[in-house]
Amino acid sequence: MLDFLKSPILAMQDFFALAGRAFLNILRRPHYADDVFIQMDIIGVGSLPIVVLIGFFSGAVMALQMSRALSTYGATGQIGTITAITLVRELGPVLTALLVAGRNASGIASELGSMKVTEQIDAMRALGTDPVQKLVTPRLIATAVMLPLLTVIADFVGLFGGYCVACLLLNLLTPTQYWTTSYRAIEYNDLSQGLLKPFCFAIIIALVGCFYGMRTTGGTQGVGRATTQAVVVASIWVFVVNFVITRVYVNL
């Protein structure tokens, strides 16, 4: 009767086994520093243009929406505060994570998936390297380092987008007002939340991508399936974990 639960539970178990090994390997030799840097370049530098673009427009659109809502209360002076808080707490981390999930969870899953179906993963094990050590751990480290950085950049660019709308487009307040109010709005609590989130999302994205890549079966078709699954599952978990972290912080 509980048969339909069996496969997701087994998959969860495999996932946590992979996660455990990936984390343990951070401390173990050999370390593949080259692979970490290559992945940082692909994940971090490669995602930068699109993160900047999306960050700018989400900050700008936030300011546009708020300008209307706030003007009904005659509180347009608060526009910097609101833009800053929403960006740092929610929009920056979540949007960046979703972008990186779409770009890199899929990239990781398809790369590892093709390696799996052409028996390169088996060959690695046969020739004396641990594929988790060589493939998963570098991707985990690279994503965990780069995603928080990308988020910080997205936050700043988003604030700049808000500035462009509030000060240059709508002329609601002076630049000094905008930047001081937004600077004052950010508290320690917001910053820690805004950095903890991308760090957790990074772990999800890297591990989900690797997990689906490593268990690909069924030729090239299987690679396509693994890629899609990785993006969908990583995005869902980003939202779930985002809710959990926010819930914890709201109670603090």
Binding site: T118, E119, Q120, D122, M124, R125, A126, L127, G128
Partner: protein, 277 residues
């Protein structure tokens, strides 16, 4: 060869491998001695690849034990297995060449990563790689990537990589699948050459009975550089070739070529008759 041939290199004892309901291997038992050649035949999906991977410890048996070089590997951890795997070469059915690395890096990979050969200098590694590629007549492709080679050339690179550490046991998974008859014979000739020059125990999975015939009845003559039929020069039976036929995860035949050809079982004799078609 007499003293060596008693040593049991690979032994399967009631090995079963189950992925889901239907077993991929079902109570398989056999053993291989040093110096022997083993030809494994069987229909697609009969478990030949799973068998080779279980011998390497890449797939863990659900039941039974696998012993390699006299050690039970069934309960070893992945890390403990690395030392053992460096004594076994394998050519993978799908190639298994790393497509982000050049041919040179691919062939050097076991030399760089396997513990047994750790202490080689870069020059020594390059020398070994070149020698190994010269052996399969591909010494001019060092800087190419696997995607730039033809299917037959990739197989040869795979053979070079499997044999570069000169392991005592080499497993070849369908080295001739999907190749034209001429290239296929070249590949088998290379395998015979590797086997006889480096004195390796060889297991070969194939769909083509001719491959088995070549391995069983020919030897490499280092003077002429050609294959010659066994039995000349008083060399008869210096090597034994055993044939195995797999069916749905079970071993349905194990014996010499003569016994295989004499078999009346319709499934088994299909594999032996291929050559006369």
């Amino acid at each position: 060869m007499a003293g060596q041939s008693n040593e049991c290199i690979l032994r399967f004892d009631g090995v079963s491998v189950r992925f889901d309901e239907t077993p991929a291997l079902d109570g398989l038992s056999f053993s291989m001695r040093a110096g022997e050649t083993r030809v494994i035949l069987g229909a697609a999906g009969s478990g030949k690849t799973v068998l080779l991977k279980a011998a390497l410890g890449l797939i863990r048996p659900t039941e039974g034990t696998v012993s390699v070089f006299g050690d039970d590997i069934t309960r070893r951890t992945e890390r403990e297995m690395f030392g053992l795997r460096s004594r076994i070469g394998m050519l993978f059915q799908e190639g298994g060449l790393f497509d982000s690395l050049t041919i040179e890096e691919n062939v050097a990979y076991p030399l760089v990563n396997q513990q047994r050969a750790r202490r080689l200098s870069p020059e020594q590694i390059r020398e070994r790689v070149e020698e190994s590629l010269r052996f399969v007549e591909l010494e001019r492709t060092l800087d190419k990537f696997p995607s730039e080679l033809s299917g037959g050339m990739r197989r040869r690179v795979g053979i070079a990589r499997a044999a570069v550490t000169e392991p005592p046991l080499v497993l070849f998974d369908s080295p001739t699948a999907g190749l034209d008859p001429i290239t296929a014979n070249t590949i088998i000739a290379l395998i015979v050459k590797e086997r006889d020059v480096k004195n390796m125990t060889t297991a070969l999975v194939t769909h083509r009975y001719q491959d088995g015939t070549l391995l069983a009845n020919f030897r490499y003559n280092p003077e002429s550089g050609q294959l010659e039929p066994l039995g000349r020069n008083g060399n008869a039976a210096s090597r034994t070739t055993t044939f195995m036929v797999m069916r749905e995860g079970r071993l349905v035949f194990e014996g010499t070529q003569g016994q295989l050809e004499a078999s009346r079982d319709p499934y088994i004799s299909k594999f032996a008759r291929q050559s006369s078609e």
